[in-house]
Amino acid sequence: MSGPDDRVRSIDAGHLSEIGEMDLRVRALESVLVEKGYVDPAALDELIDTYETRIGPRNGARVVARAWIDAKYRDWLLSDATAAIAWLGYTGRQSEHMIAVENTPQRHNLVVCTLCSCYPWAVLGLPPAWYKSAQYRSRAVRDPRDVLTEFGVTLPPDTDIRVWDSTAEVRYLVVPIRPEGSEDLGEEELATLVTRDSMIGTGLPVSPEALDA
């Protein structure tokens, strides 16, 4: 446990980096909140563990794979995503009201939150740094094709782009186009093709050939 004395020593040594200062300030705040009884340290550890080990984009990948192999599930997902996703066991915080949007040759969907960082945690986990960045948030609604190019995605010129700005508590999951050559794959294998970015719209699924390579 670092105290004020450690901090003074750090300053004297000229080693007080920005990160070092944040470490100290956060530690100090946590100490005060725990001492006052507002937070339970065991609950903090449990919260962190939940998002490090139990919730992540593999959840969303299973939803997409299911939609690819099961037309009835796909229809349910597109008409009532919250219920269809909950049926696979994924519910909760920052995914209370889900909408699934399907990519087609005619339309590519891209999700952003220009006002903060709204993101469907229960199916995709915590958002990547770029999703929360000023660069992505400012440009996705205005120049999405250029943004996609930076992600290495080139769409056919006649594919229209639809951008979903998550301004309320509705959260969006993109259902990407099932890759060619994946016809013989089962649900588990299909899920390995579904990348996090393909469910945000900044990426495409991995092709089965690339997986074999």
Partner: protein, 221 residues
């Protein structure tokens, strides 16, 4: 938290000059050891029932150095601001790293055993419909025009523009009211779609952009 000089620094949609996107591979959610602690402190205090998520978003977007802060520095700054404003923690306590005053009772203290339920249930914002929606799918509407002197979820780029109603989501807690401590005041929530060319002079032809807009953001067009 409403005033004539309310300034948000988070309304970034369409702003030019932010440069190229810094991509990263991998799924590591944290970039410093303190970040998961801030994340967990925010979630635990958010569930304590002292403030709501809309108030937190307002506290974040009004940090004067918002754009200079990293993401979890924004979270930390807003958490501290909310704790200090409500007298739960004071600056001298943060400097000392220990409590100097008795705690103020809070509605709820989250325990480890509460976390799975808390996560699984989340905080749904849909409420029972108490009136009919003003607009039907396919209807042309116009968004209201700012300035809006308080927290709002109507982005600047989408103000004063024509759009089409695409979907109704039921009545949801109205962020603008809830952030200002005026209660939930549920309103009908719609997905409304704009043509890109109605938003940006340089938009490509087929682009459409949607936002989720509460009814008070919309007028018949």
């Amino acid at each position: 938290m409403s005033s004539d000089d309310y300034v948000t620094h988070a309304d970034l949609g369409g702003q030019l000059g932010h440069g190229s996107i810094k991509l990263e591979s991998g799924f590591e959610p944290w970039h410093a050891a303190w970040e998961p602690r801030v994340f967990a402190l925010q979630l635990a205090m958010g569930a304590a029932g002292v403030w709501n998520l809309d108030m937190t978003r307002s506290a974040r977007e009004t940090l004067p150095d918002y754009l200079q802060r990293s993401y979890y520095e924004i979270w930390f700054g807003a958490l501290l601001k909310q704790l200090e404003e409500r007298g739960l923690v004071s600056a001298d306590e943060l400097a000392a790293g220990r409590s100097l005053r008795p705690p103020i009772p809070v509605p709820r203290i989250v325990r480890a055993r509460d976390v799975p339920t808390l996560q699984a249930h989340g905080a749904p914002t849909e409420r029972s419909a108490t009136k009919a929606p003003l607009f039907a799918v396919g209807r042309h509407v116009r968004t209201i025009c700012g300035p809006i002197p308080h927290h709002t979820r109507l982005p600047g780029y989408a103000q004063g523009k024509t759009a089409v109603i695409e979907r109704l989501h039921g009545m949801h807690v109205f962020a603008d009211a809830n952030a200002n401590g005026h209660g939930e005041q549920p309103q009908w929530l719609y997905t409304v779609v704009f043509r890109g060319t109605d938003l940006w002079p340089d938009a490509e032809g087929g682009l459409t952009v949607s936002i989720d807009a509460w009814e008070p953001y919309l007028e018949a067009a």
